[in-house]
Symmetry: C2
Subunit: 531 residues, 2 copies
Amino acid sequence: MNLQGQSIFGSESHAGTGANFSAFNPATGEALAPVFQSATIEDLHAAVQLAEDAFRVYGKLSGKDKGKFLRHIAAGIEGIANDLVERAHLETALPKKRLQGEVARTANQLRLFALVVEEGSWRMARIDTGDAARTPLPKPDIRSQLQPLGPVAIFGASNFPLAFSVAGGDTASALAAGNPVIVKAHPSHPGTSELVGQMICQSVRDCGLPSGVFSLLFDAGTQIGAALVQHPFVKAVGFTGSLTTGKELMQLAASRPEPIPCYAEMGSTNPLFVLPAALKTRGSQIAKGFFESFTLGVGQFCTKPGMIFLPDGKDTDSFLNVLKALVQQASAGIMLNKNICSNYTKAVALRKRQKNVRILAEAVSLSAENLSHACPVIFEVGADGWIEDPELAEEIFGPATLVIRYKDREQLQQLARALQGHLTATLHETDNDLLEFGGLIEILERKVGRLLLNGFPTGVEVCHAMVHGGPYPATSDGRSTSVGSQAICRFTRPMCYQDFPQSALPDELKNSNPLGILRLLNGEYTRTAVE
Amino acid sequence: MNLQGQSIFGSESHAGTGANFSAFNPATGEALAPVFQSATIEDLHAAVQLAEDAFRVYGKLSGKDKGKFLRHIAAGIEGIANDLVERAHLETALPKKRLQGEVARTANQLRLFALVVEEGSWRMARIDTGDAARTPLPKPDIRSQLQPLGPVAIFGASNFPLAFSVAGGDTASALAAGNPVIVKAHPSHPGTSELVGQMICQSVRDCGLPSGVFSLLFDAGTQIGAALVQHPFVKAVGFTGSLTTGKELMQLAASRPEPIPCYAEMGSTNPLFVLPAALKTRGSQIAKGFFESFTLGVGQFCTKPGMIFLPDGKDTDSFLNVLKALVQQASAGIMLNKNICSNYTKAVALRKRQKNVRILAEAVSLSAENLSHACPVIFEVGADGWIEDPELAEEIFGPATLVIRYKDREQLQQLARALQGHLTATLHETDNDLLEFGGLIEILERKVGRLLLNGFPTGVEVCHAMVHGGPYPATSDGRSTSVGSQAICRFTRPMCYQDFPQSALPDELKNSNPLGILRLLNGEYTRTAVE
């Protein structure tokens, strides 16, 4: 494991002259070697200029060659899996088994996008052939397809040091679409970031691509990130993190002389609804699943269910008895870093003092004073109290959740209508419940990006149909997903060619359809050539 | 022709208590009956509440029923074509023949969207079937498709009183996707707006839809429009108009407690490049086409070519002689309204005083003092002068254009690189030109939404492949088009269902594929059912 502690651009590591910083082992509080150097604004300018230069070549690269590149990165990451797991474990305290899974997921994500670009139909090619004989005016030949935007700025997330970080979903989708990427590394796992960054740069070299296709910048603070979003060559932003930072980036992106798209995934409370018949039939099973879901990864998932709605009555009393016992027996977990843990501790303390809120159960910390340890906790609030206080619907990042009891169908619908945007909502139900509570789904369809039945929202399948997104404030832009192959469309826009000769058209739009992609030809979806 | 001069919502006309205003005949300056009453904020709240209520039904309406509704509107508009042309001619001074064409285009646009929703594949349905036996974790069943957003606010444009107004492309695409629409009528053609609004409301009733599916609000000022964009039930904005107003709406939409998508098409200068061999071969033909294009509709097209780049030399001298003669012989045209004409007059006067700019030719107005008359004018500036002064690349709305001569390929590329975002760019070229100037296309692909060869950008074909959009400041959001069937995706977002039973899924996502639509099933595009 050869870490330089330096930003990477132009295919080389560069000593920054900005503030030094270190990663910390959240389990011990110890600083980890090496010391990392923050990039300078000059470094940033160099990286963005390289990306702009690289776009002229990379933006035109064939799907086949982009697929080869993405697969090369995937294999490279698997090749250093042991080093990655070792370092990420030190930097995040996430269990090694989970990190092994994350390596696999990161590689599979890259390969999913490789499949998509190799197949090629993602470009949504459309062809309307001309008709010189049409009256009163000849009909022009019009063809269009999605094209990449240009250099994209990606911000790594702290809670998935691989799958939502340097080579995570945002980077994979931006690269797949043909955009050079500049990653601002998350300072909480810089060593993991550098290992992945080195591997991507190696892949850039091995595939003979311009060095500006990928850069990795370190910064202890926010200067580099802000300057990146404001740089005129940067054409879009991808971010996963807190609502506060997400809103700052949205604001920066919108107030540029040329506003640009900003895809910020800002977290969510992921309401979970248990309906009466389901509760009666399998309450204790749901309680166990729910406990596992909201405490998974010490509650550090954007899809953690942070609110559970239960019907008034003795079935809920039994449900909560199971849940309380699980929480009371739980042990503390180590959070990703001191800052996150301190925010969690403060948020829990604040909630304990909140009007109408009572604590149902809390695990007893073995080392409450220690570093980054956090304990699961369940709160309860009445339906009216919850509606009165919108703060109670906000995310607490960590293993906390909130119980809200509802009286009847009407009140449940009222509660659902009061929700803001979330990534997910989950219903535990039986067929009879759905008949009685059917209206609930229609309400929730307007509130979230993904609706689950009888499951748990943690665990986001990486596939074609996944939507990991949702209305504001879950994300900055509910029209997109940051997980799954649909994410490739985020960093694109449609481009139209009128009356172009065959030789000047991109392959995707040529009559012969040399790539064999699906196209909308004069209103019909087909892979056949234009006659 | 029965005009009330009143806003329409809840399927009825309502007397507003806001300021009164009138339409004016730009040819005579006379006020046209009736007096129109501005809506009140209470009217606005009522209309938006009705739209929100209507969404529960309309958002779930089948493609077949939406198609029927759109076709009903189209037929209704054709049924009152004579009244529409008569009134629109009085209100805009646009020639009747042009307005007849616009009626046809408006109806055809509605029918194009009817086709799209009846066919159904626009929803981009995706299905990844589950696998309970997968290890280490079972694979969930994941299905997603595009769904409508909710009530949409549409702002009519002044320059297309039918095709970009009350029942124009924005309204058609929003309705097609399943969104109720609230139109803020353009005060420059309120009678035309009311006629179309009445017809849409009649169609809502005839099709048995909730009255809130469509509302039309009048306002002499900006209060209603601003309140509409800020209303919490409104989920997206469509606008065609000036950069100034577009930027205001963008700002309002972005600064809401819940920011919403704002699609503002804000105009463009549509650079046109003439390459040397094309100029030599058919210079005078290009000059004639260019003259017709920049003066078409008194220069009041968003796609008017407002800049033309010509190679230094005697071929350009000849070209300009043809062009100058055409301009000098041209007569004045009547602009859409006094305000637009006064802005044009001011912009032309300002440009005449601008450093480095000289006037090449100007038509002599027959009635320079009169009302809304505007005369074609051509300016010229040197390449260096143009690059120094970014204002020269800004749109003058009206029959003005600017000639810039380039020395060589290098300077032409430098000029192209200095461009901001535009809706279109056009090249007049021969095969030899393209060999020599090929790099120009790659530069322009980053600057515009549509590239034309050997044509003229005015005249936007309504079809599947059209892109009427482009990077900022041509539009607020270059990821979309406001003309053509792709516009249906603007007012949607993807929605995902995990482990839903067949009975609870939308038809589009059911195993049997009852609608027969194209779906991405486990990574393959197919219309077959799920086995």
